[in-house]
Amino acid sequence: MKNRQSKLWIWFPIFSLILLMSMSLSVTLGAANISWQLVWQIIFSKIPGLNLFNQASWSASTETIVWDIRLPRVLLGAVVGAALALAGAIYQGVLRNPLADPFILGVSSGASFGAALVFVFGWQVFWLGQFTLPAVAFLFGFLSLLIVYFLSRVNNKVRLETIILAGVVVQSFVGACLSLVLALSNEQLQTIVFWMMGSLALTDWSYNQIIFPIILSISVISTFFIKELNMLGLGEEAAHHSGVSVQRTRFILLILASIITGAAVSVSGAIGFVGLVVPHIIRLMFGADYRVVLPLSIIGGAIFLVGADAFARTILAPREIPLGVVTAFLGAPFFGYLLRRAKRGYF
């Protein structure tokens, strides 16, 4: 108990520091060479009332690059990474399945289908404007989850095997709808495929403003369920006997995880692997206790995706590699290495 807690007290600040460093490093990367000191000066100059560097020693274009182009993107990467890793950790705990990832219940298929429809039909809900795409994607993702949930509800109870199978069913059905749309689309094909592979390009502050509060508040709410997540690990019946309302807790957690998944996917596409691998890496390093796994997965996911995005946009610059490709490229070998090194089962 006490050593567990102290583990978190040591590692949470360290992880946060690494995240801050990788974010500022990532902002310096790109065609225009900008030092990290300058990056921080520009950030501080934006804080109202704080006039540390009153005569600006940088050009307006540098400021635009840092503040309007790179920073929102890096921040969004961190937020999306955190969201996916948190969702993955929750799904794995609730479904008691090590292969669970944020997309297992069809949220991403639904979101991709919704996004494809928007691309093909050029929908624009006027009062949503540029947010039509994320809003529709989110809606479709959430609908898929609800279908999965109610498909697997028998006698007011949801069984774990059933819900995973229902997820597979809905995923393949929605997947087929998506393929149909792809087959019928012409010039939008590449846009859709790229969107599905995940990208943080074309982000500005407005996406952050929407998704950041959602993900922050759900991260906080989910920490209230850490005890329950650990207790579900001891078995469903054991959790019930210790006073956990298993069905209700599971429903709440699945909804929370799916909201953040939907929110993340709707702004960045279906970036795979983060949600599967990051919680496992944290478990392999620090054990399965959710008091440690949950907070560190959030920060770890952010670090992972910020790093992956830096990779995606610099390695073949000026071309960008789809982010989902990079996450799999980096994540899979590292995960494999850790698996081989692990002395015992850890899930």
Binding site: F224, K227, H240, H241, G287
Partner: protein
């Protein structure tokens, strides 16, 4: 303490528990015995709120179990099953600490009182040496002891046990049942346990309930229940009945 009135459970038109009535006094330990498929585990599930009865009423401390919230129920009853706890990689201390859950508010964290209680219970159950060991590295018997410790920390008035000794060697069987017995004597715990071993049931329970095919066949002392004709009828085996040389309790030989 516990009162069942005409409790029935029907699954797919098939009655698996049929018109069962019995009551358990506070501080007593009752053994629930009967052949495979008799409905013993179902009774335990009904009492612990895992399943709903199709008919009848189950009252715990004068109140319908269906009316209790899961958390409230866990404040008063703890359950130990054959499977016990999954081998989940957290420490023994943390696993036992989870027994405090029903006594904590939603935002509340465990405090010093809870930690002290856990330390104390680990001591009583002889688990202090395992405190920091991971649950998944323990043997089945050790894990079952952790489950008992977790139940103790829960500080219930009633303990339900469903074949808690199945996977254990005779030493550990005796050890677990003695822990329960001591606990019963110390705190006036009410115990309802499903046991397959009739000899253990006769030794450790104040009263026995014999079930068969979803119905209660007989309720009474071990003298009454561990009798040749009754057992032959229900188990289709013809055991020899002898007396325990020390306690004079009836025991069976197959």
């Amino acid at each position: 303490m516990l009162d069942l009135q005409n409790v029935s459970k029907t699954v797919d038109e098939k009655p698996i528990v049929n018109q069962v009535s019995f009551s358990v006094q506070k501080g007593k330990s009752i053994g629930l015995i009967g052949p495979n498929g008799a409905g013993k585990s179902t009774i335990v599930k009904l009492i612990s709120g895992l399943e709903k009865p199709t008919n009848g009423l189950i009252q715990l401390m004068g109140k319908d179990v269906q009316q209790w919230s899961v958390k409230k129920l866990a404040q008063h009853t703890a359950v130990l099953t054959q499977e016990g706890l999954s081998p989940y990689p957290i420490t023994v201390f943390d696993a036992v600490l989870m027994g405090r859950y029903p006594h904590l508010g939603f935002f509340q964290r465990e405090g010093k009182k809870d930690f002290d209680l856990v330390e104390h219970v680990l001591e009583t159950t002889g688990l202090t040496a395992f405190k920091d060991q991971m649950l998944d590295t323990l043997s089945g018997g050790e894990r079952q002891r952790v489950a008992i410790a977790k139940a103790m920390v829960q500080q219930p008035q009633m303990l339900l046990l469903d074949e808690p000794t199945t996977f254990l060697d005779i030493g550990h069987q005796k050890n677990i049942l003695n822990l329960v017995k001591d606990w019963q004597r110390r705190d006036g715990l009410t115990v309802l346990m499903v046991l397959h071993d009739l000899n253990l049931a006769a030794q450790f329970c104040d009263e026995l309930i014999l079930m068969n095919k979803g119905k209660v066949v007989d309720i009474g002392s071990s003298e009454q229940i561990i009798a040749k004709e009754t057992l032959e009828q229900v188990y289709h085996a013809n055991p020899e009945i002898i007396r325990h040389p020390k306690s004079n309790i009836p025991q069976i030989l197959l």
